[in-house]
Amino acid sequence: MRELKIVDALNEALHQGMEQNDKIIVLGEDVGKEGGVFRVTTGLQKKFGVERSVDTPLSEGGIIGSAIGLSINGFFPVCEIQFDGFIWPGFDHIINHVCRFRTRTRGRLTTPMVIRVPFGGGIHALEHHSESMEAVFSHIPGINVVIPSDPFSAKGLLLGALESKDPTIFLEPKKIYRAIKQEVPEEYYTIPLNKARIEREGSQVTIISYGAMLRETKKALAEFIKTNPIDFELIDLVSLSPIDYDTVIASAKKTGRILIVNEEPRTAGLAAEIAAVIQEKCLFDLQAPVIRVTGFDTIMPLLKNEDYYIPGIKRITKGLNQVLA
């Protein structure tokens, strides 16, 4: 089987999704002629025309706001937000409208759409290009939030989101857009949006991560087990809203030790939420406190100091030592 990078897998998913469903429209800044700043939408305009791969004026509020109308009136918009830090002018539409129309009309008008967002740090970009604000999105009722961690999940999840009757925030770990090559089936396939994936089964400790941090975690574990041969369970969370607690809690009960690794600011984050639910559901199965390895409650530094913010092998290894103590 041929190998693809995440960008190519996402691009293939968009091509196949748009072939399958002629109501799908891709819209965003520079997505048409240029194919997006990360090239995820390359070739779509050539193949599907300017009405289905739309270069919009520069306005996230306009993109997401008009996508709501497009969706209500029969289309399936796929909004591309150029960088995570640029989503906020459109955030009002996400939190006040995208997630609410189904409730506000008692199921009559719905707004299925995908909002794609290159997500997280690690590419040494400018300010406002590297934040991890997943908890903000996961906090919103009425919208799904997912993040792939490799090319296979990127394609399947995006096609899954394109079939969903509900709106999806689709976070794309930009650090690993081109870092991983993996065998990806050529045919159309979907991955459920609300299921975590057990990457490795184990009995002594559970490590939960997602997106680009899953790769860092795997690197840290590969080093760690050389000197500490532990039987670890590794969970790719995949769905950040809703969280697949069936998988998380079953694993917590089994191992009694939980480490959560992500790159968000720590306070009121997703890791805190998962830790809270674990202690509610299985406190007496735990043999150690739930440990969080995260970014800091600071502004993401400029590129020279970016790597001090994002958890690396050192911080993850320290977390492993803590949770196993």
Binding site: G61, G69, R106
Partner: protein, 375 residues
């Protein structure tokens, strides 16, 4: 207008009101002055005499229902309510020419408009009572729920009108909002996107002079709101919003521009909010009684009434009959609305997503248990 593109110029020639309107020397389009005299005979017969009587009856109905809603709030039988007092002509004019399948994307001060468009008054009342069954509209009526966030709904109307053009559909979208909304960024993105993507959308701004306490003159330095259209390469017109004949004439052109030519427009209807912002507001804190008194003679009902009486189209007795009938209907509707059962307590979970998930279902059961045990 020379400001418009060549293509628009050629099309606009067929739409004399929009074609004539000049943003550098703006005038308010009017057909009937506030004494009910026709001042623009070209448009005197935009609607028939019989239709004018029917419109007057609707204005009476809207005023009576609106008054009732304010009273219900005072009696503690309704939540906060925004009165449409003084804006009855706009309530009808915005959607008068619409076909049934056309879209309406309303702001919150539109009780009359959505009722006239076809949402039963009972639903309107239920919504302001706080019963979510008021948001349950029939499947075949293209009206969005009222927008409480000011200006946020404008891009939605752009998207609906854009989608309609992509579908080669025939429906147009009317989006209603007030002068305050024009200061929001969403006003800009909505009009800009609508023009760029040729959305079949009419932006209908009721300049009622107030956003709560803030006067229209504090919202914008522009002489008119209508002239803002020209910055987007879009036709615009300022119209007397208390003159139903002028409104209908303008909206006829605006709708046809959207429907037949995919040209969005901005209509500024100049009116006045006679009532408080909502029942929670006290407008005496920020505006002089004199100002309100100056506007009262320009009332849309007074002038249409004067016109109808002058032409002998209606008698006192007939008018009284209309009022009695409206009151009777409104009272009966209030009764039905108040007797309507509250939604199920777990409805908040029911419509959140297309399907529930375990953690949400756990919360729903918690709610049910909490209130079952209390009984």
């Amino acid at each position: 207008m020379k400001i418009m593109t060549k293509l628009n110029q050629e099309i606009l020639q067929k739409f004399p009101i929009f074609d004539a309107w000049n943003p550098t020397e703006p005038t308010m389009f009017q057909v009937m002055d506030h004494n009910g005299e026709i001042v623009n005979s070209e448009y005197a017969n935009t609607i028939t005499d019989q239709e004018a009587v029917a419109v007057y009856e609707w204005m009476l109905k809207i005023r009576i229902a609106d008054e009732k809603c304010v009273n219900m709030q005072r009696q503690g039988r309704m939540g906060t309510y925004p009165s449409v007092l003084g804006q009855e002509a706009c309530q009808i004019g915005a959607v008068y020419n619409q076909q049934k399948s056309d879209w309406l994307v309303p702001t919150f001060r539109e009780s009359g408009m959505i009722w006239y468009k076809g949402i039963p008054l009972e639903k309107v009342m239920l919504y302001w009572i706080g019963n979510e069954k008021g948001s349950e509209y029939a499947e075949d009526i293209n009206v969005l729920p009222v927008a409480i966030t000011v200006g946020g709904h404008l891009p939605h109307a752009t998207g609906i009108g854009w989608a309609e053009r992509l579908k080669n559909g025939n429906n147009i979208t009317v989006c209603s909002f007030s002068d305050g909304a024009t200061s929001e960024g969403d006003f800009h993105s909505a009009l800009n996107f609508a023009a760029v993507f040729n959305a079949k959308t009419v932006f209908f701004c009721q300049n009622n002079h107030y956003a709560i306490s803030t006067h229209r003159d504090m919202q914008t330095k522009s002489k008119t709101i209508a002239e803002k259209a020209f910055a987007y390469g879009m036709p615009g017109v300022q119209v007397d919003g208390n003159d139903i004949f002028a409104l209908i004439a303008v909206m006829k052109e605006a709708n046809q521009l959207a429907r037949d030519h995919n040209i969005p427009t901005l209509v500024e209807a100049v009116t006045y909010r006679i009532g408080d912002h909502t029942t929670s507001d006290n407008s005496k804190l920020y505006r002089e009684d004199g100002e309100v008194e100056d506007w009262k003679p320009k009332d849309p009902l007074i002038r249409l009434r004067a016109y109808l009486f002058k032409k002998g189209l209606i008698t006192d007795t007939q008018e009284q009959e209309m009022k009695d009938k409206a009151k009777e209907y409104v009272e009966a509707t209030v009764k039905t609305a108040l007797e309507t059962k509250d939604p199920n307590i777990d409805d908040m979970f029911k419509y959140l997503l297309s399907e529930s998930y375990p953690a949400l279902e756990e919360q729903r059961l918690q709610l049910i248990e909490e209130f079952t045990n209390n009984q």
